[in-house]
């Protein structure tokens, strides 16, 4: 089981990336793997492993960026988001 929250340090850190995910979700796992393989720095939050206020706060963020409140939701530079595992779209937004 992964940590509920954390960071992965890659050599590319020109974007602020937050991955909202579920620890049981395979699409989330694929998204995380793609980010790791792209060597970008990102924060991750496994919402299913949070409780109480922390979980509510995380869900409020997910909902703000993705009205379906689905996972994964990736927020980039606090400016745009990608919902679901969409490697081509992520590469475009991140300039990979």
């Amino acid at each position: 089981m992964p940590d509920a929250k954390g960071s992965v340090n890659g050599s590319k850190s020109n974007h602020k990336i937050i991955l909202y995910a579920l620890s049981t979700c395979v699409w989330c796992k694929k998204t995380r793997r793609m980010l790791e393989q792209s060597d970008v720095t990102f924060d991750y939050v496994y919402v299913d492993l949070l409780t109480g206020q922390e979980r509510e706060d995380a869900m409020a963020q997910v909902h703000k960026w993705n009205s379906a409140a689905s996972f994964p939701t990736i927020v980039i530079d606090n400016a745009e988001s990608v919902a679901g595992y969409k490697p081509a779209r992520l590469e475009e937004v991140l300039g990979l």
Binding site: L22, T24, C25, D48, A68
Partner: protein, 171 residues
């Protein structure tokens, strides 16, 4: 929450084989990407241990069964997603075309309505039924649409294996 327990490979293997057998017997198919599918089965077992039921691994469960009923695998949205996208939301189940390799599996949009728009949270309606055209009530499986006229729904849907609590009164 600090969860450290791991799901054993034997449990995953047993459930994977059982779901595969039941799917094929009922005209459904598990995703042929076995590594992907076994990961999802592990997610189901994790949720079984967490919540007591197979909440969809790719959706956030509330731990309140009555709120999560529609996302207990197989979910209420599986068949519509199989028809429209060739896979269910988490892609545990896929269409015949996908299984045959004629169509790729991708991450698909969430079909589940927001909480307040789900039928169980709408006022009225749930208990309003016209008089049944038979002498017994008719129940509908919310997962696969199976209809049966009997006093109570069956314990397990004979088609898709959903449990009794997934049936709704139809007539």
């Amino acid at each position: 929450m600090s969860e450290t327990h791991e799901i054993g490979a034997e449990r995953v293997d047993a459930l994977y084989k059982r779901l595969d057998r039941e799917a094929e017997a009922a005209g459904y198919h598990l995703n042929p990407d076995e590594e992907f599918t076994r990961d999802l089965v592990e997610g189901l077992l994790t949720n079984e241990d967490r919540y007591g039921y197979w909440a969809c691994p790719c959706r956030l469960a509330t731990a309140k069964k009555e709120e999560d009923l529609d996302i207990i695998c197989p979910c209420d949205y599986r068949d519509a997603d199989l028809l429209d996208w060739g896979a269910c939301y988490c892609a545990l189940y896929v269409s015949t075309e996908v299984k045959a390799g004629e169509k790729p599996v991708t991450s698909i949009p969430e079909r589940r309505p927001p909480r307040d728009e789900r039928p169980q949270f709408q006022e009225g309606s749930a208990d309003d039924h016209p008089a049944p055209p038979t002498s017994v009530p008719v129940y509908r499986c919310r997962v696969c649409g199976y209809l049966c006229g009997r006093e109570q729904p069956p314990a397990v849907c004979p088609i898709c294996k959903a449990k009794r609590d997934r049936f709704e009164r139809f007539w």
